[in-house]
């Protein structure tokens, strides 16, 4: 417990406190931080409707990515859990195999696939279709996020399916429920905590992602991650970047809290 607490303090609580501390100062004229006076100016600036619009857009794109990742990830996890035990290890290994390659390289690989002269459009052209605009649009951004984060969903849901006692489903079938009814009324509700955990993974990581919108979106999509990145690095306005980060952290904490409550309730119902 104690070492865990120490790491949590050092790697999580302290950095967050540093961010929260910066909120109350202003950017120096030439960048850096002006420590001479405290102010609420950054908070006032952060409430500009512009940032609400950017945040809403990020939520929309991250939400879409989350939904698709769940739709892809659940069947995959379900199939893996039904596979013979020996195959399971191999299949899970395959699911996480992409993580052995650097994130940037995997993202660039999508550019090679999706660009107008890329593999997919070349293949389409050979059967008389296309070229389709697959790159530098919202489709590409969502695709990139889904591709990168679906393995987390698979792992989270697989873990939930593993913990599920098969006798529940057997009892349901014994009592005359169809396979579909059993899935909808027994399996899915009992694995809801795994679904929620996977969803939170994808959503939180997508919101903070700035590389995928930059590379696959052609820089045309400003997500919360890009906005914060730009404030810290391009505008060199650390205090304002910290303010925006703090806002995002608070919203994420509320979401995580909601997810925890939801999971606890789902467990309680069992």
């Amino acid at each position: 417990m104690l070492p865990g607490l120490f790491w949590l303090m050092a790697l999580m609580v302290l950095p967050c406190l540093l961010i929260f501390g910066l909120i109350f100062f202003e950017r120096g004229i030439y960048g850096g931080i002006d420590w001479s006076a405290m102010t609420l100016e950054n908070i006032r600036r952060a409430f500009d409707p512009l940032y609400a619009v950017i945040l809403w857009d990020s939520f929309r794109i991250a939400g879409l990515a989350t939904a698709i990742a769940l739709l892809v990830g659940y069947p995959a996890a379900y199939a893996i859990s039904k596979a013979p035990e020996k195959a399971q290890t191999a299949l899970l290994f395959l699911a996480i195999l992409p993580f052995w390659t650097n994130y940037l390289i995997r993202t660039y690989a999508w550019i090679v696939l999706l660009n107008p002269a890329g593999l997919i459009n070349t293949a389409l052209a050979s059967i008389g279709l296309g070229p389709w605009p697959l790159l530098y649009n919202e489709f590409a951004v969502v695709l990139g996020l889904v591709y990168n984060y679906t393995p987390f969903v698979i792992l989270a849901i697989f873990a939930a399916l593993q913990r599920l006692d098969p006798s529940y489903a057997e009892a349901s079938r014994d009592l005359g429920a169809t396979a579909a009814t059993t899935f909808w009324r027994i399996t899915l509700p009992l694995t809801a905590p795994g679904v929620a955990a996977g969803a939170v993974f994808v959503f939180v990581l997508s919101i903070g992602n700035f590389i995928t919108p930059d590379l696959l979106g052609g820089g045309k999509f400003q997500m919360a991650g890009n906005l914060i990145y730009d404030q810290f690095l391009t505008a060199r306005d650390w205090p304002f970047g910290a303010t925006l980060s703090a806002g995002l952290i608070i919203i994420m904490l509320i979401l995580l809290f909601a997810q925890a409550l939801f999971s606890r309730r789902a467990m309680g119902e069992r």
């Binding site: 120096g28 030439y30 512009l50 940032y51 002269a117 052609g218 045309k220 391009t234």
Partner: protein
């Protein structure tokens, strides 16, 4: 128990003594963009001066700014940064003055390179490279040759969806300012608003914002007209001669990358020797031939093979021509309004 303690103490003393001798060997630390000077620069510099050179790498101006402002410049002797950043570092009091007597090779600079607006007389910075920002295009893919920023910002139908703009905020905004006849350093709200409206309209016609691969998009034909730094357009020209570079009639900015010495430098003498070394004709020539930027170093430019100037016409732009363009300057307090405008453009659909 005593003996081991004594042994430990002796060992510690011995280590101290060794590191003290090591410290006697002179050393400097230089931070530069990766690949922006010859790979064997450390060996060459050591052979010429006997000073050890440690090269540290930064990916962007902002990255080294962050490191240096956080540490007060501690741990670095020489930095390579773009001129607005040199200016900001100097205003924050983090730079040492340049002592011309210790850098005799300053005489290699074009006279124009000593009159740069961010630092006339090279009091705190020495220019390393300079150039323009303009239009780089496929002469075989565009119907009419571009000659104005309007060709990019209000593109003709044949290039719509096949253009890119630079993503870095200052160069993202500059074309709109130049087209409207404004200063590239304006922070007037009316100018920002007008540029925002123009650039939001332009955004719908863009293939992408791209700082790093725009020239390969030209080579592959994905793009036919892009906003580019002249040196980077040369990378495209090198693999596809149909690619051309033009400075729009409304003008360009003049960008300058510089070398500065930190006030906290542990070895200011060595730092001056290093800048002097970089300023010799050989190292300057290496930069032009390999990085394909123009050099403010006359000795280096004179040493070039004239065939190179022919293949890459933008390298032959005369220093007097360059000086006609306005340099990007640090925006100071105007940065907040400026960066909000950039966010507005980025958030627009």
């Amino acid at each position: 128990m005593r003996i081991p303690t004594l042994v430990k103490g002796l060992a510690a003393a011995a280590i101290l003594a060794v590191s003290a001798t090591a410290a006697l060997a002179e050393k400097i630390v230089v931070s530069n963009w990766d690949g922006y000077m010859p790979k064997d620069i450390a060996e060459k510099f050591k052979a010429a001066t006997g000073i050890d050179l440690e090269v540290s790498v930064h990916a962007t101006n902002e990255e080294i700014m962050g490191k240096v402002t956080a540490s007060g410049g501690q741990g670095y002797d020489v930095l390579f940064v773009s001129s607005p950043f040199a200016e900001a570092l100097n205003k924050m009091g983090l730079l040492a003055p340049i002592d011309a007597a210790k850098i005799p090779n300053l005489k290699n600079l074009y006279p124009e390179a000593t009159q740069l607006k961010h630092d006339p007389g090279n009091t705190f910075s020495v220019p390393y490279t300079w150039g323009t920002t303009g239009l780089c295009y496929r002469s075989d893919l565009v119907k009419s040759e571009p000659d104005s920023w309007a060709s990019l910002l209000n593109p003709a139908d044949d290039v719509k969806g096949k253009t890119t703009m630079l993503a870095t905020d200052r160069w993202l905004m500059a074309p709109a300012f130049l087209l409207a006849g404004k200063s590239v350093n304006t922070t007037e709200q009316a100018d920002l608003d007008a540029a925002r409206d123009q650039l939001i309209a332009t955004k719908k016609t863009l293939l992408a914002y791209d700082d790093t691969t725009f020239y390969s998009k030209l080579v592959s034909g994905e793009a036919s007209l892009v906003e580019a730094w002249d040196g980077w357009c040369n990378y495209g020209i090198a693999s596809k001669p149909e690619i051309k570079y033009v400075i729009p009639k409304e003008g360009s900015d003049l960008w300058v990358d510089t070398m500065v010495i930190t006030k906290a430098a542990a070895n200011p003498e060595g730092a001056a020797k290093f800048i002097d070394f970089i300023m010799n004709a050989d190292n300057g020539k290496w930069m032009v031939e390999n990085i394909m930027y123009k050099s403010p170093n006359k000795a280096a430019m004179d040493a070039l093979d004239p065939a190179m100037l022919k293949q890459y016409p933008n390298m032959a732009i005369a220093p007097a021509e360059l000086l006609k363009f306005e340099q990007l300057r640090d925006l100071g307090d105007g940065m907040k309004a400026f960066s909000k405008t950039v966010s507005e453009i980025m958030a627009a659909k």
